[in-house]
């Protein structure tokens, strides 16, 4: 187990480094110049003195060769210093740190909702013996995936907030404001979970060990929950790991639609202001979350299926 964990951690570090490096190179190659953006920010479209620009460039180190800038920034990033925002001049890490809690709250609630909704739909669809109900339930996920997030958000606001006045449409204050954005995020995510889980439940229910369980006299509920679900949950868990990263991306749209503070808003405004250090910080943060969630998923696998640790060891040898 220790060896397995060490190997996974090493992989995680490589992923983080790659995310940092690739985003650094891409942002550097973009035509936009953070210094121009920074200088023109206070000028309302007026002309900037080239000498002044050069001075700012020198101050921030933008005139150093690419390799030097890369190594310096990477060194700083390792110690947690992601540089300063060119828009606000505050440390990127600090801004992200402040924006993280509301986004984490939102995505965590959305993820829980998605897993609960997705599992419920998948279990009901495979459990029911009414053919029309099964068909209906199995077609829901496709619909949920197909519908755009912002449209779902707007519809939910229209219905639950403006018409029924159940939940507030905008803002950050209190748990009630969390409901609509979390639901909006949860629908496409839950739909994917339902799709994968339903498929693997149907596969699991066809396995010979389910036949054995039925031959024991076990009832349908028991067969679904004690036998099929556990075996079917592995592929669904993999998807949840991947979707957790996806949720961060969707949060950009949802936080904008619902006017919530968080990483999404920070990202949107950083991109708008060509705030490259901030964008880079968001990319690294996204990679970090993705890596952590998938590490967690990998650690949960062996608890669900004992064969997996063995397989992991075997792979480490090859």
């Amino acid at each position: 187990m220790g060896r397995y964990l060490a190997r996974r951690l090493a992989q995680a570090i490589v992923v983080l480094w790659a995310a940092y490096t690739v985003s650094f190179l891409i942002l550097d190659a973009l035509p936009g110049d953070p210094v121009t953006a920074m200088a023109s920010a206070g000028l309302d479209g007026g002309q900037v003195d080239p000498a002044e620009l050069a001075a700012i460039r020198a101050e921030y180190g933008y005139d150093d060769p690419l390799v030097v800038r890369y190594l310096t920034n990477l060194g700083n990033a390792v110690t947690g210093d992601l540089g300063n925002s060119v828009a606000t001049n505050r440390p990127v890490a600090e801004t992200l740190g402040a924006a993280l809690p509301p986004t984490l709250q939102l995505t965590a609630v959305a993820l829980l909702l998605a897993v609960a909704l997705g599992s419920a739909v998948a279990l009901l669809a495979t459990y029911t013996r009414r053919r029309w109900l099964r068909q209906l339930l199995l077609s829901l996920p496709g619909l949920g995936v197909a519908v755009p997030t912002f449209w779902v958000g707007l519809m939910l606001v229209q219905l639950l907030s403006f018409q029924l006045r159940l939940f507030p449409a905008f803002g950050n204050e209190g748990a009630a404001t969390l409901v609509l954005p979390a639901l909006t995020l949860a629908i496409p995510t839950g739909a994917l979970v339902a799709q994968v889980l339903a498929k693997s439940l149907l596969t699991a229910l066809d396995e010979p060990y389910v036949q054995t369980a039925r031959a024991k006299g076990a009832g349908r509920v028991r067969i679904h929950l004690a036998h099929a679900l556990r075996n079917a949950s592995l592929p669904a868990l993999t998807v949840v790991g991947l979707l957790a990263g996806q949720l961060l991306a969707s949060a950009v749209v949802v936080e904008t639609v619902f006017s919530r503070d968080g990483i999404g808003r920070v990202t949107a405004s950083a991109v708008g202001a060509q705030d490259l250090p901030m964008v880079q910080g968001v990319v690294v943060l996204g990679a970090l979350v993705f890596v952590l969630v998938n590490l967690l998923v990998d650690l949960v696998y062996p608890l669900l299926d004992r064969r997996i640790v063995v397989a992991g060891r075997r792979r480490s040898l090859a």
Partner: protein, 557 residues
């Protein structure tokens, strides 16, 4: 639950049972009017080939037909009650508690995510026969009863930590847990090695006799039926064509199908054909040097690191044998004996850790490049599973001519001619050429695989369990075909099998492997008539059908 059975009444009484499967082109009948009785404490074997409806009949009894299966008519009276009209809830009370099922393939029939003990205890819990703690204790006792050593340890293990035989014992523990009156055993050992098979069937015999449980034993193997059952019912095409006491069915079969089945059953045929195995055409003793000489072959595989540093598995250790020209050498052993690894080394598919292989006088160990390709052309392989070894997207013509295309032999027209000729040689009509593998039966597919192996007119064909996936009557035909081809073309076979009965029919020389080492080798007659090693004797004794026939002199003890 139901009134006690009157004396002399059958425990299970099936009358005029009709089952069909829904397919896209309408319902297809699988069982057509089956009558069958099983009396309390009796072992009845339901024998037939794949598609005969034997498994469908057995599954109908426990109400567990596969998706699309439907009972169209007839009755299944169990303990006086008709199960065909029972609701799912009522069936749940019968399953596990009063009828136990021993499934076909133990390697996939246990839930991989749950401990063995919990899976046995579940039967008791489901039927409310024990509380949580008591069920766990009784599960351990049941595992011991089913013949597992250290049952308390096994109960805490997961299925993948147990061998196939151990898993089947765990499944037997599940089946007997609630003390049912009837066990339905669906090919309970066909996925296991012969010696394991024998031990498990012996144990099942003892157990059911002690418990007074009746058994409906479904099997494709007449030998198994002959050894275990008091009565045999033979199924073909969804009907029972013959039923009667075991003695009578074996010695005086009335139905032509039963007669054919008996004639082709390799295990029962072995004794009868001992004097003249199909392939052993006497005369023309090869004067030239052997085609293949394997000397001191060894193969090690690294194992996951243990506490004491790197470990290796000695899959094959110091194995030597020869394959004479135009003759057949058989490698015999159970799973894990190293027979397939040895064959792969002979074909230069795996590099040996030590030893060498000489083919027609040249050393082919570790050859590469052009020499390897030249060797490939002269040595071909027929795989075990004809369902998996043919590309489903190729037409049969493409399958058969692929080796010719790979070696750029001939042009389009000459390859097509060759394909037709090869199919004729394996007794398939030319109309098959344009079909896909999925449209052919298992036996036909294996013929196609043999035709493909012969396409380049190789000198050596390695047959890796070529008939073990086939029905017995088809097995016999394919073995005949291999022998004929050898007589016509002078090809040599390296024949790999776990089935001694099959080996006896085709091989000139036999090499018995166990745990990667040769325990005994010699001519087929010597091995079968006067085995010197204990393990060979055990293998011979484990051939199903042994109990029913007169022991060969000096053979089984």
């Amino acid at each position: 639950m139901s009134a006690p059975l009157p004396d002399g009444a059958p425990l299970l009484k099936i009358r005029d049972l009709t089952v069909s499967y829904a397919t896209r082109s309408g319902p297809v009948p699988a069982v057509r009017g089956v009558d069958l009785d099983v009396f309390p404490g009796e072992v009845v074997a339901l024998v037939g080939e794949s598609g005969s409806g034997k498994s469908t009949t057995a599954h109908a009894v426990v109400g567990l037909l596969p998706a699309g299966g439907r009972i169209d008519g007839g009755s299944i009276h169990f303990s006086g009650r008709d199960l065909t009209g029972a609701s799912e809830k009522e069936l749940q009370l019968v399953r596990g508690a009063r009828i136990g099922l021993v499934p076909q393939d133990p390697t996939v029939s246990l839930n991989p995510t749950r401990r063995i003990g919990a899976q046995v205890a579940e039967v008791l819990r489901v039927h409310g026969l024990a509380g949580r703690r008591e069920a766990a204790e009784r599960a351990v006792a049941l595992l011991g009863r089913a013949g597992l050593s250290e049952p308390a340890v096994r109960a805490r293990q997961f299925p993948h930590e147990l061998s196939g035989g151990m898993r089947q014992r765990a499944l037997i523990a599940v089946a007997i847990a609630a003390g049912p009156q009837l066990l339905v055993a669906d090919e309970p050992t066909s996925a296991l090695d012969v010696t394991v098979q024998r031990r498990i069937l012996d144990h099942l015999d003892t157990l059911t006799r002690e418990l007074g449980t009746a058994v409906l034993l479904v099997t494709h193997d007449l030998g198994v039926a002959a050894d275990r059952a008091q009565r045999i019912a033979v199924m073909s095409g969804g009907r029972i064509v013959e039923t009667g006491p075991t003695e009578q069915v074996l010695t005086d079969p009335r139905d032509p199908y039963t007669q054919r089945l008996l004639a082709s059953a390799p295990s029962l045929a072995a004794a009868r054909r001992a004097a003249s195995p199909v392939a052993v055409r006497k005369g023309d003793v090869p004067a030239r040097e052997p085609l293949v000489v394997a000397e001191g072959l060894s193969k090690d595989f690294p194992l996951p690191r243990g506490g004491s540093g790197p470990r290796v598995l000695h899959a094959v250790r110091n194995v030597s044998f020869t394959v004479e020209r135009g003759r057949t050498t058989a490698l015999v052993g159970e799973s894990g004996s190293g027979k397939s690894t040895t064959a792969r080394m002979v074909l230069a598919l795996t590099e040996p850790t030590a030893g060498r292989v000489t083919f027609d006088g040249t050393d082919v160990t570790g050859v590469r490049g052009a020499a390897l390709r030249a060797f490939r052309r002269r040595a071909q392989l027929v795989y075990q599973n004809p369902y998996a070894s043919l590309d489903p997207r190729f037409s049969i013509e493409e399958v058969v001519t692929e080796p010719l295309r790979a070696f750029r032999v001939g042009d389009r027209a000459s390859r097509a001619t060759r394909a037709r000729e090869l199919l004729g040689r394996v007794s398939l009509p030319a109309s098959v050429l344009q079909r896909r593998p999925a449209e052919l039966s298992g036996g036909q597919r294996q013929r196609v695989a043999i035709a493909r192996a012969l396409a380049l007119a190789p000198e050596l064909v390695v047959c890796d369990e070529p008939v073990s996936a086939l029905d017995v009557s088809v097995q016999a035909q394919v073995l005949e075909l291999l022998a004929e081809l050898q007589a016509d073309t002078g090809v040599s076979y390296l024949f790999i099998s776990h089935d001694l009965a099959v080996v006896r029919q085709v091989a000139h020389a036999v090499v018995v492997l166990r745990d990667g080492e040769v325990v005994e080798s010699g001519s087929t007659d010597a091995i079968f008539d006067a085995p010197t090693h204990e393990y060979t004797r055990e293998l011979l004794a484990a051939i199903p059908g042994t109990a029913a026939r007169i022991p060969a002199p000096g053979g089984t003890r």
